[in-house]
């Protein structure tokens, strides 16, 4: 990679699309700026998706690597952030297909390990967990992603459709189902089975 562009602070102030165009032309400073600009948001999303800090960091590295290798295929008329989230979402789905059993065990709260009554442990965890943690537990992957991109990333429905590979109406239906499910578990939180139908249907993105 050649350092062809100007100082780093100049690169940061430009839009992700402009930076991506220059990075595709070979500017390492612009790619570094992209890492600084989108890295934190992508890491936060991946961490929520996989619930494992180390796996999220590995996936972030893989996301940027894949993006760098395919910068020539990026369509500058689309949002670069949407393109990056699309890559990250696919990599997270692949990760979950490969490591689902281990991840399910990791998601158990270590404090619950010695509890004789699993129902009590589940009830205690539900009281303590935040709304996003609950969403990641009770929602299928596509619904969680749609909800995250809409309410955490404040993405437009059309961009979410691009990330999930769905139509705009399909995303609205997905959000509708996600919110209904969340309301159901918020009103009566007991007892969505951990991993099913949440992460257990990770591979069923296209069926949602």
């Amino acid at each position: 990679m050649d350092a062809r562009s100007g100082p780093q602070h100049e690169a940061v102030e430009r839009s992700a699309e402009e930076l991506a165009a220059d990075a595709a032309a070979g500017s390492s400073a612009c790619f570094e700026a992209l890492v600084r600009l989108l890295g934190p948001r992508l890491l936060r999303y991946l961490h929520q998706r996989v619930r494992d800090a180390h796996a999220a960091e590995d996936l972030l590295q893989e996301t940027f690597l894949k993006a760098y290798r395919n910068l020539g295929r990026y369509d500058p008329s689309r949002s670069f952030a949407t393109w990056m989230f699309t890559i990250a979402t696919r990599l997270a789905a692949d990760h979950w297909r490969s490591f689902r059993p281990a991840a399910s065990i990791e998601r158990m709260d270590p404090a619950d390990g010695g509890q004789p009554d699993p129902l009590e442990a589940v009830a205690r965890r539900e009281q303590a967990e935040g709304l996003w943690a609950r969403a990641s537990r009770v929602l299928p992957a596509a619904q969680f992603t749609a909800l995250w991109l809409r309410y955490a990333e404040e993405m437009a429905v059309r961009d979410i459709a691009g990330v999930l590979g769905k139509s705009v109406v399909g995303v609205k239906v997905t959000l509708h189902r996600a919110c209904r499910r969340m309301l159901k578990y918020s009103v009566a939180p007991a007892h969505a089975p951990a991993g099913a139908p949440g992460r257990g249907v990770e591979g069923a993105v296209k069926t949602q």
């Binding site: 990679m1 990075a23 595709a24 070979g26 390492s28 790619f31 570094e32 890492v35 600084r36 890295g39 934190p40 948001r41 890491l43 936060r44 960091e57 972030l60 590295q61 940027f64 690597l65 760098y68 290798r69 395919n70 910068l71 020539g72 295929r73 935040g130 709304l131 996003w132 969403a135 909800l147 809409r150 309410y151 955490a152 429905v157 769905k166 139509s167 109406v169 399909g170 995303v171 609205k172 239906v173 997905t174 959000l175 509708h176 919110c179 209904r180 969340m182 309301l183 918020s186 009103v187 069926t207 949602q208």
Partner: protein, 215 residues
């Protein structure tokens, strides 16, 4: 059913951030359950936004790791040649070939007129289908439902169909008795699928077209 439709409309508008329509606002004003649903959803959306963890800067080690991996990777792939260019080149050739084939076929092939059938008119009249009976209507309704019930709204379409069925049955049950007689004096119930006999009493809850479909 009306509430379900309005809740879907509500979800659609909340998802896209569009303001609520007049009909939706009127419904919310008169429906406690939908108003509670709306408020719960708004509260949940607010909590989701509030509970979103902040995206702090990447750890320097992580940034360095990513950039080192990128540096050791191969250079970005060149943009593939746009497919539109090939299509633009081939389009005139394809058009010319199509015209040549059409003109050649018109002049070279012998005319092929079908033999005249003296009973053609009768056959046409006989082939006109009779209006569908209630059984066939029900069958067609559910066939259309199954056809429409493709992704991404399969569940919603099926639920709406079921609600429509229930609504029809409840309307039928509330009709005045005189309206339930056909022109020839027979009970309309006899004309519907699943009717027990030619002179049964008017339905109280109505027959179930779905039951007829499944049976």
């Amino acid at each position: 059913m009306v509430c379900r439709i309005h809740r879907w409309g509500l979800s659609r508008r909340l998802a896209s951030g569009a303001p609520l329509g007049e009909a939706l606002r009127r419904h919310l004003a008169g429906c406690d359950r939908c108003r509670a649903y709306h408020e719960q959803w708004q509260a949940m959306a607010k909590r989701l936004r509030e509970e979103t963890p902040p995206a702090g800067p990447l750890a320097p080690q992580l940034s360095a790791r990513i950039l080192a991996a990128v540096r050791s990777a191969q250079a970005p792939a060149a943009r593939p040649a746009p497919r539109g260019r090939t299509i633009r080149l081939l389009a005139p050739l394809a058009a010319a070939a199509t015209i040549l084939l059409a003109v050649g076929g018109y002049f070279l092939l012998p005319p092929d007129k079908p033999p005249v059938d003296p009973n053609h008119g009768t056959a046409v009249v006989r082939s006109v289908p009779l209006p569908p009976g209630p059984d066939e209507l029900t069958q067609r309704f559910w066939t259309d439902v199954e056809r429409l019930a493709g992704a991404p709204m399969a569940d919603e379409v099926r639920r709406l169909a079921r609600d429509t069925e229930d609504l029809g049955n409840s309307l039928l049950a509330r009709l005045p008795l005189d309206l339930l007689r056909a022109g020839d004096g027979r009970w309309l119930d006899d004309l519907l699928p699943g009717s027990a006999g030619p002179a049964g009493p008017p339905p109280t809850s109505g027959p179930s077209p779905k039951a007829g479909r499944q049976g």
